[in-house]
Amino acid sequence: MLEATQDYFEAIHDTDRTGALRAVDEALARGLRPEDVLFQVVLPAIERIRGPEGQACASSLAQQYMAAVIAAELTERMVPLFRSAPAVSCRVVMGNSRGDFHGLGRRIVVGCLRAMLMEVVDLGLNVAPEAFVDAAVSSGARVIGISSMMDHTARGEGGCRAVRRLLQERGLEGTIRLAVGGAPYRFDPEMYRAVGADVWAPDGLSAGQLIARLARGEAA
């Protein structure tokens, strides 16, 4: 393991933003390639903060936030320095459902996806069902991710159910998959079925991993 990998992970773990950026800058100064910064330092930290697959994420929200948000920033800084531009694998549309003004979960998921070199169309807060579908069609996205913090914005008629209905009506079900997440889904792990989603994830880092897989056309 690179020295920077451990230093960076420890800084993220301690929610020490300055320390995390210092670890990266020192590594670059020692000659580490920007590609390696991303793939050997930043992404492994997301995985370690997330912990073993199949188990509940053991880290706090603050640590997840650090891992995802700094990863997105560093991705933006590193990618232009790559020797050859990386192939952007696929596109994802993300937003909060209608009436929902709780953006942090979505931002963590988006940060992860960007660090995985996904192209994300982030529609922000309070998004109408039609806007999700229109954005997915016009950008060629393969996954729509919908975040909701309250029971009524998850389950209600302005959210995933309505998006599912639009996909059906427009014959898009074969091409566009639906992922959901947010507090209510964590209290009822079966709720994603009731609202017509294909998948859900309990935390931002596994959400990033899951959506990336879906977008690549792999089974979730």
């Binding site: 706090s60 603050a62 009436g99 003004f101 953006g103 942090l104 309250m150 009524h152 209290f187 709720m191």
Partner: protein, 343 residues
């Protein structure tokens, strides 16, 4: 026994007919009165009337003088609440957008005649006039370390909290703490018995333990010290409190805990010891789809796990989507399981 006698007896280790049953119905009040949600929350008289009607109908052991949490942002200048017809309203604009806004933030110190609080206090007084001393009157206060989430958004707040500048963070926390203290004083004067003190940022689900200990809990102690601990119930927003509950008790002195359905009650009891009051909280989001048999089994399992010290049964912030017949089954089961032999 009246609900108040029941709660006082449980808290002081005296015999009771059954454990207290708290049922947190908020937006349901609009339906009880046949009103739209926005209209309903315009008047403290409506909220009080609906709380009383629902309590008489269902027989549970508490009433609420809570409208919605966004009210606290209104107290600090927020003018845009986004209402829905199928759930609670949300803060729709941030009062704090720049560091300057933090310097400028004005905290009202006397809430007794603050326009954004008048109806809430009116509701509390009406409840006191009707059921004071008989049914515990509950209010809700967001801790200083959590309040900025609805003033500037969770993301900006987490950023400021974790990466500073520390002076700016502390300036905001001091102002929020002043508001919390003023709220508690005003609520007590209006007749509140139970103050649900909400501090999700002291959950290890939110912050690493180091920060729960060194930042969140010291600010909680500061929020609560001037008014004392009478009626304070420690609540981390239904995030988990396990692992940090005993530390909260040590730092703040609280003796009543309202955990998450995802906390293990037996482990929590072991952590806290036999004397504090611990609520068993039903997952009312799953309640939306549970069939009657499942509801009864879940209620029973929850009440069984409450052995070992003073306890009550409670719900989270019950979604409007929970069918009335499920509420009825839940309460019947709770009343039956919570029965205790009076010595």
């Amino acid at each position: 026994m009246t609900p108040m006698e029941r709660l006082s007896a449980v808290a002081t280790g005296k015999p009771v007919d059954r454990l207290p049953v708290f049922c947190n119905l908020l937006d349901q009040g609009a339906r009880a009165l046949g009103m739209g949600i926005e209209e309903y929350y315009r008047s403290g008289a409506s909220v009080a009337e609906a709380q009383l009607r629902m309590q008489r109908r269902w027989g549970h052991d508490n009433v609420w003088a809570l409208f919605y949490v966004g009210k606290e942002a209104e107290l600090l200048g927020c003018r845009k609440m986004v209402f829905a017809e199928d759930g609670p309203p949300n803060v729709g604009e941030w009062v704090i957008r720049t560091p300057e806004d933090i310097h400028r933030l004005q905290v009202p110190t006397d809430l007794a005649d603050h326009p954004a609080f008048a109806e809430t206090l009116r509701c509390a007084r009406l409840l006191r006039a009707e059921v004071g001393g008989k049914v515990p009157i509950c209010v809700y206060v967001t801790s200083s370390v959590t309040l900025p989430a609805i003033l500037m958004g969770m993301e900006a707040w987490l950023g400021l909290l974790l990466t500073g500048p520390a002076e700016l963070r502390d300036e905001l926390l001091a102002k929020c703490s002043a508001l919390v203290q003023a709220e508690i004083a005003a609520y007590r004067a209006a007749g509140a018995d139970i103050i649900l003190y909400s501090i999700p940022f002291a959950s290890p689900d939110f912050l690493p333990e180091r920060l729960c200990r060194s930042l969140a809990l010291p600010w909680a102690a500061r929020d609560l010290a001037p008014g004392g601990l009478a009626g304070i119930v420690y609540y981390v927003g239904t995030a988990r409190m396990e692992g940090m509950a005993a530390e909260a008790r040590r730092q703040i002195g609280v003796e009543a805990f309202y955990p998450s359905p995802r906390d293990d009650l037996r482990r929590l009891r072991a952590e806290l010891g036999p004397s504090p009051l611990v609520a068993g909280v039903l997952n009312d989001i799953e309640l939306v789809r549970w069939e009657p048999d499942r509801i009864r089994a879940e209620v029973k399992a929850l009440v069984d796990a409450l052995d070992g010290g003073p306890a009550l049964f409670g719900t989270m912030l019950m979604p409007l989507a929970v069918p009335e017949r499920s509420i009825a089954v839940m309460l019947e089961a709770a009343y039956a399981c919570a029965r205790r032999e009076r010595a």
